[in-house]
């Protein structure tokens, strides 16, 4: 007997958070395997998972129905399905309404809400045992000829009666019945996970969930044969009839750009052309080079053909606004490095100097919008966002979503709780996990936390954690991806509230938007831009004339010289330890080499093994060869080594016969590889393609390995070029305007890799004078104070004083007489300082001009505060016999109150003692020979375990002479975990590794010397 046709019309994916126990991909694949005619994904008041389902359904060739499940305020439950585009709009609007009327994560809908949008949708009534005919009549009236009773027979006692009752109810209300499965998982075997999700939702252990759990695992995609034994044939046939009525496909969504950017009477295309041409004339006042003019028009033609004008116009408008407000910004992304973007001032990368071709990055085959991210000064991005809301209105503007998924810690905690593990034990386990631990370490960490890895429950825990990993938990807002539309956005995709009031987000994330070809403009925040703008202002002040990015001389050899010595603390992108250890080897000497440097020293290329071949070729130690002319065309600019994402795509095209569209698939797979494992699919295709074209197996394998390395971390050339501009600009500032540069970096904190303390030490090593915080002289920000003929000195600002509020500081500044405060009492009175602020200033030694040392300042401050309004306060200068501060104490208090000191480095105070133990300084380590045994001791200022380094931890030690870079291998790290994690002052016994200017200390033994620091607390910054 052939099983009957069936379409599942009620199925939740795991985007019904804490309910659905399968990914949409799994559901689609299973429905396909079971020969279903169609599958509806009906997540509860959500379309967040629908794009994933669409992709999977398209790949599988299964008909997908878009729908959603609801529970109304009065308890009525129903599934709504979208038969066509208009109904889809109603559905999205209804979801938006429900979501927007409730706090984040919840929804609230009434019958009236549904009735107002019931004109086109199909409704399945999820009638419970208590259902009455009045509900049925209401449905039948709202959804004439479009409502059914869903009969869900789930192998529970009374199924037969239920079927009978529902059929009777249907006759009574004039509603036909249809079979459906209340599907929560693709396979029965997911029921454990489903129970766990229920427990997580209810916030108690599974064992206490009782009847809230489903009694059995029937809520999976059941075989048609099994269904045929349960349901009358008519009910199954009805599913197919409903499915056939649903001909809506998400492909029909036509996105329309906002209209207001084009002046009336002008076509978008003509408008963009005139803006571009005007821009070019501004860019090239001496005359636009013919090639550039030519290129611009090629690009414009392509843009016009693909109708992307609005995208460029939107970005242009946003950037235009920022420029009008003097907010520094810069675009990047594949389309950013085009002549158009250069002309529109979206980017500063001069395409005439770059080797990229725009046509490569928006291709006709790809049906997706070009990609431009715009970075803004991090402190002023909000102004830009508010502008966008004003310009497009709240119903047409929203932020993209980010799907927050289960990671190891969260999965472990939630499953652990559900299985009834002791909170204390789970906390112990969670604490034992460090971010750099690998998944495979989990059993080991379990043992450490006192779990028995062989026990049944722990086995269950591991198994369920593994299943739960990667499940979506909730939606959050994207860092800056804005979506605009011509009409109301809510008819395109549902909107919901975010944690921030006044912000709304759509239910789709970045990948969904890409797939649906929705315009997204990334309005991102970049700390370096804030710092650059500040530095330009300081330079302008010092030089007495305006100073902007364009005033920075290009290709200054001294700037490259500085980079080549890895003297790059604070320089954008090339300040990381990995970059600093590579700079002296790569020695960039022109802009394009800097572009390569930035892209090369990243996890992708490092993992793909590109670094060393490139290095050898650059230094002439290896011949530059190409397996073919075609490959040479792609790789010659990077000496035959693929470094950029674009090159990988091009290689696939020229060597393995990929179409540009397929190459783009490959790029996407690279990005999503770790998640989906899809890259493996490309392996076969790439390698056979290359073999067919006469490439060696070895070459093909190597290319594939490199592509694999790119996954997740590959850097596009265009991004790298934009970053290189900022890197060059910041390096130039560091080389020629170090004081302004450091001052601007500190004033833009938090940002970058280095703390103010480290930045200041670096500046001091470059002979910049740093002056202490002084309540008589400091501003809120750090400022420059002129010195004749020298780099100006930096006066530290009140912003560095911990526990001092900005408002109090501003009163201090506003009330300060030109000649300064006469006494502490005057300061306190005029600025109206409370105990906390006054103590904060005393702690930071900012009152030294008024009171001598910080102890006297505190004593005097204490006397002022308890005085009453009648000026009965103690007369200021009562000097009492307080013990004097030793230098070490001053240093400790400096760190505690401001995070830095201008006095002796704490390690220098211990130097005699350290020397007696033959512990060397950073400067001495730097002078050691390769292979020489050596020992060093310093404050731990960084601990890093990059994903690429197979378990190596990099530790940075700081002393008064500089930094020591320590390498700790995995086995030592495991053996001396306590010293590694717990030390603030660490002694390392090891061997020096030297390669040219790059010196590391390879650790053999670690020794915690933190007790020597006394109460000095210098917190390490762990960088990911």
């Amino acid at each position: 007997m052939t099983p009957p046709d069936y379409a599942e019309l009620h199925c939740l994916s795991n985007f019904s958070f804490q309910r659905g126990a399968s990914h949409a991909e799994e559901l689609v694949a299973r429905a396909q395997a079971l020969g279903y005619r169609a599958l509806a994904i009906t997540d509860e008041c959500s379309l967040a998972g629908i794009v994933r389902a669409k992709k999977a359904a398209e790949e599988a060739g299964l008909a997908l129905i878009v729908g959603s499940e609801f529970r109304l305020e009065d308890g009525l439950r129903l599934v709504l399905l979208a038969p066509d585009r208009a109904a889809y709009g109603d559905l999205a609007e209804l979801i938006t309404l429900g979501r927007r009327s409730a706090p984040k994560g919840e929804y609230r809908l009434t019958r009236t809400d549904v009735a107002q949008r019931s004109g086109r949708l199909l409704a399945l009534w999820l009638a419970d045992d208590a259902a009455g005919a009045s509900d049925g009549h209401w449905l039948a009236a709202c959804f004439p000829e479009r409502a059914w009773i869903a009969v869900e027979l789930l192998q529970q006692a009374g199924d037969r009666e239920r079927l009978h009752d529902l059929l009777a109810l249907g006759r009574l209300c004039g509603l036909p019945c249809v079979a459906s499965g209340d599907v929560h998982m693709h396979l029965r075997s997911r029921r454990m996970l489903q129970d766990v999700l229920t427990a997580i939702r209810l916030g108690k252990p599974v064992a206490q969930c009782g009847l809230a759990l489903f009694p059995n695992g029937e809520r999976h995609l059941r075989s048609r044969m099994a269904l045929s034994r349960l349901y009358p044939a008519e009910l199954l046939a009805e599913t197919v009839r409903i499915a056939e009525r649903c001909h809506f496909s998400l492909k029909e969504l036509r996105y329309e750009y906002p209209a207001e950017l084009v002046p009336a009477g002008l076509s978008a295309s003509a408008h963009l052309r005139s803006l571009t041409e005007a821009g070019l004339h501004r860019r090239y006042p001496a005359g636009v080079p013919a090639t550039v003019w030519q290129q611009a028009h090629t690009e414009l033609a392509l843009v016009a053909e693909l109708e992307y004008e609005h995208f460029f116009l939107t970005v242009h408008d946003t950037v235009q606004y920022a420029r009008s407000q003097h907010i520094l910004c810069q675009g990047r992304g594949s389309a950013a490095n085009s002549v158009i973007c250069y002309a529109l001032h979206i980017t500063e990368v001069n395409p005439a100097e770059s080797k990229m071709l725009f046509g490569r990055f928006i291709s006709k085959e790809r049906n997706e919008p070009p990609d431009i991210d715009v970075d803004f000064e991090h402190e002023r991005r909000e102004e830009v966002i508010q502008y966008l809301y004003r310009k497009y209105g709240r119903d047409r503007t929203a932020i993209a979503a980010t799907v927050i998924s289960y990671r190891r810690k969260s999965a472990l905690r939630d499953v652990g709780r559900a299985l009834g593990f002791d909170e204390e034990q789970l906390a112990a386990l969670s604490d034992t996990l460090v971010w750099w631990d690998r998944s495979s370490d989990l059993p080991l960490r379990l043992v450490e936390a006192g779990f028995d890895p062989d026990s049944h429950l722990v086995q269950l825990l591991l198994k369920l954690v593994k299943q739960l990993l990667g499940f979506p938990r909730h939606l959050s807002q994207h860092v800056g991806g804005f979506v605009f539309s011509r009409g109301p956005l809510a008819r395109l995709v549902p909107l919901e509230n975010t944690a921030m009031a006044e912000r709304t987000q759509i239910q789709w994330d970045k990948d969904d938007l890409d797939h649906m070809s929705l315009l997204k403009v990334d309005v991102l925040a970049l700390g370096m831009l804030s710092a650059l703008r500040r530095a330009f202002e300081l330079v302008a002040w010092r030089r007495g004339q305006p100073f902007a990015m364009s005033d920075i001389p290009r290709e200054d050899p001294k700037v490259y010289e500085m980079m080549s010595h890895a003297d790059t603390i604070g320089v954008f992108q090339i300040e990381s330890r990995a970059q600093m250890s590579m700079l002296p080897r790569l020695r960039p000497s022109k802009f394009y080499e800097l572009v390569i440097e930035i892209a090369l020293v990243r996890p992708g290329p490092i993992q793909g093994g590109m670094v060393h071949p490139y290095l050898k070729r650059k230094n002439g130690e290896e011949d530059i060869t190409y397996p073919s002319k075609a490959v040479e065309g792609v790789l010659s600019r990077t000496l035959g080594v693929p470094i950029f994402q674009e090159q990988v795509m091009e290689l696939a095209i020229v060597a393995a016969d990929y179409t540009p569209g397929e190459a783009d698939q490959l790029r996407r797979s690279m990005a999503a590889w770790a998640r989906s494992g899809k890259l493996e699919l490309h392996r076969e295709k790439l390698i056979t393609g290359m073999l067919k074209n006469g490439y060696e197996q070895d070459f093909a394998e190597r290319i594939f390995a490199q592509i694999q390395g790119f996954s997740e971390y590959g850097f596009p050339e265009s991004h790298s070029a934009s970053f290189a501009l900022l890197a060059y600009a910041s390096a130039w500032l560091k080389r020629y305007e170090h004081a302004a540069f450091t001052c601007a970096l500190i004033n833009s904190q938090p940002m970058g890799f280095y703390s103010p303390s480290q930045l200041i030490q670096d500046a001091q090593r470059h002979e910049v004078e740093i002056r202490p915080i002084d309540v008589q002289l400091s501003q809120w920000d750090c400022t420059l104070e002129p010195r004749d003929g020298l780099q100006p000195a930096i006066r530290l600002g009140l912003r560095l004083v911990r526990r001092l509020g900005k408002a109090a500081a501003e009163r201090v500044l506003a009330q300060r007489p030109p000649q300064g405060y006469a006494s502490l009492a005057e300061l306190q009175r005029r600025a109206g300082l409370d105990r906390r602020s006054l103590n904060a200033l005393a702690d930071a030694d900012a009152l030294h001009a008024l009171s001598g040392n910080r102890r006297q300042a505190r004593w005097q401050a204490g006397g002022l505060l308890e005085g009453d309004d009648l000026g009965q306060a103690e007369e200021g200068a009562e000097l009492v016999a307080l013990p004097a501060l030793r230098e070490g104490e001053e240093v400790v208090e400096d760190y505690q109150s401001t995070g830095l000191t201008l006095r002796a480095h704490p390690v220098s105070l211990l130097r005699a003692e350290l020397r007696a133990q033959r512990l060397l300084s950073a400067a001495e380590i730097l002078a050691c020979q390769d292979g020489q045994p050596a020992r060093a001791c310093g404050i731990v200022v960084g601990r890093q375990r990059p994903g690429t380094s197979s378990g190596v931890t990099f530790v940075t030690l700081e002393d008064e002479t500089g930094n020591v870079n320590v390498i700790v291998w995995a086995d030592l790290a495991e053996r001396q975990r306590r010293e590694l994690i717990g030390s603030s002052l660490l002694a390392v016994y090891g061997v020096v590794q030297r390669e040219g200017e790059v010196v590391h200390l390879l650790a053999m033994r670690l020794s915690d010397r933190s007790d020597r620091l006394g109460s000095l607390s210098v917190s390490s910054r762990d960088f990911h």
């Binding site: 059995n216 307080l882 994690i981 717990g982």
Partner: protein, 434 residues
């Protein structure tokens, strides 16, 4: 914190996560301030044998005003020895100091920095480290930031300036410690009954192990009684269980006693005969009536008026038959039939749950059924009346269930409740309909 933890680098004041990262097997226990206070009370009662004026100096101090007792105890050295011996017997580690003012004595004891001779108490006072005095964190922090380390440095500062910065309380304390100002204290008045409870670190399943805990409580009782010359004739011991009512034991002694050993012997015997309904989580020891050791009770029970109601009946039944013998049946929220019912103590209110037609008689163990002609057989061929009621659950507690339940009927008209195991398709009888 023990030595092993210290060796691994665990420190007081460390964050829990850091401590646990250092010592994976670290066991954390909460402090129990109520018990600490109770113990202090017991010790105060005990100390009354040395002087009528004992003052509590919480959280962990006792002040004994011994001036008047010195003659009776034949001098300070002997008195101190007696105190030390008594404390040693209780296996308590104690720091003791004496000084002319209660504050100074308390601070010396607290810091362990006693003067070498009583006459040198004032220089010793000057040397006391400020950070170790039982003062508000805020004060100590302020003193630290002023660079003040020892009490002498503080005393050297102008008193008015100190008052302005730390308030009048500090001045008062300093004056009292130096004996410049009187320091009146409220003497301890011992309670007229004894009640202590102890939470166990781990639920205890064996009565033998409870003996040790009981020993500790009885020791404390004995200390309490000793100081006041009292004894007890009856004790109530209450064992608390999680999710179960407590078990209560009455320990009676032939005559009033305060011998810890004697009470323990009887207690142990009673415990040994006790069957624990569940692991014990806490123990409470109560002595309401305290006797002078000549046998006279200090207090008497009042007679509560009796109510002839159901709860009294229950109470009486429980008293006669033992508490375990009186029970009530109810539903439990569980899908597995064998766990869908529960026995509760009388008077509890289990949920009322509607399960589809299930039999009221459930077999203690499902009975395997033979199959004849493809049909389950129980003395007669059984016909299934229903579709399967499928139960698949319970995977988390080791009794994972995957069964299809059916109502069935035999030619006799008897109705049965069967299930077929989904793993091996074997049939079982699980219940009978009335």
């Amino acid at each position: 914190m023990n030595e092993a933890a210290e060796r691994l680098g665990v420190q007081i004041g460390q964050r829990r996560s850091t401590a646990q990262a250092l010592a994976a097997g670290l066991r954390l226990a909460r402090r129990q301030p109520t018990q600490e206070a109770a113990l202090l009370g017991s010790l105060a009662a005990w100390a009354m044998q040395f002087t009528p004026t004992v003052c509590l100096d919480p959280p962990a101090g006792l002040l004994l005003e011994v001036e008047g007792s010195l003659a009776y105890f034949k001098g300070l050295p002997r008195l101190c020895r007696l105190v030390d011996e008594g404390l040693a017997e209780m296996q308590l580690s104690v720091r003791r100091a004496q000084a002319p003012t209660p504050l100074a004595a308390s601070w010396f004891a607290l810091t362990g920095l006693r003067p070498n001779t009583p006459a040198q108490w004032q220089p010793a006072l000057q040397r006391l480290p400020l950070q170790r005095l039982p003062w508000p964190q805020e004060w100590r922090e302020a003193m630290r930031t002023l660079g003040l380390r020892r009490l002498g440095e503080l005393l050297a500062l102008p008193r008015a300036g100190l008052g302005r910065r730390f308030g009048p309380q500090l001045s008062q304390l300093l004056d009292r410690a130096q004996g410049l100002q009187a320091d009146p204290r409220t003497p301890f008045v011992p309670p007229d009954h004894f009640e202590r409870s102890l939470e166990l670190a781990w639920p205890c399943e064996q009565v033998e192990a409870l003996g040790f805990v009981l020993k500790r409580l009885l020791g404390e009782l004995a200390v309490f009684l000793l100081g006041r010359g009292l004894g007890v004739q009856q004790l109530e011991l209450e064992l608390a269980h999680e999710g179960q009512p407590a078990s209560t034991l009455l320990l009676g002694f032939g005559r009033p006693t305060r011998s810890a050993e004697g009470m323990l012997a009887i207690g142990r015997e009673r415990l040994a005969r006790l069957a624990l309904p569940a692991p014990v989580e806490a123990i409470r020891l109560k002595a309401d009536i305290l006797h002078r050791l000549d046998g006279e009770a200090l207090d008497l029970f009042g007679h509560a008026s009796s109510q002839a109601d159901f709860s009294l009946l229950l109470a009486r039944l429980s008293a006669r038959l033992g508490q375990d013998a009186v029970r009530q049946l109810g539903c439990a929220p569980e899908h597995r039939p064998e766990k869908a019912w529960q026995v509760t103590p009388p008077g509890a209110k289990p949920p009322t749950l509607a399960f589809a037609e299930r039999p009221s008689w459930l077999l203690a163990e499902p009975l395997p059924l033979a199959v004849r002609d493809d049909r389950p057989w129980y003395g007669e061929p059984l016909t299934l009346l229903d579709r399967a009621d499928r139960i698949e659950t319970g995977w988390w507690d080791g009794s994972s269930t995957a069964r299809d339940y059916y109502r069935a009927e035999g030619p006799s008209g008897r109705r049965y409740w069967l299930f077929q195991q989904r793993s091996d398709f074997a049939w079982y009888l699980h219940g009978l309909y009335a």
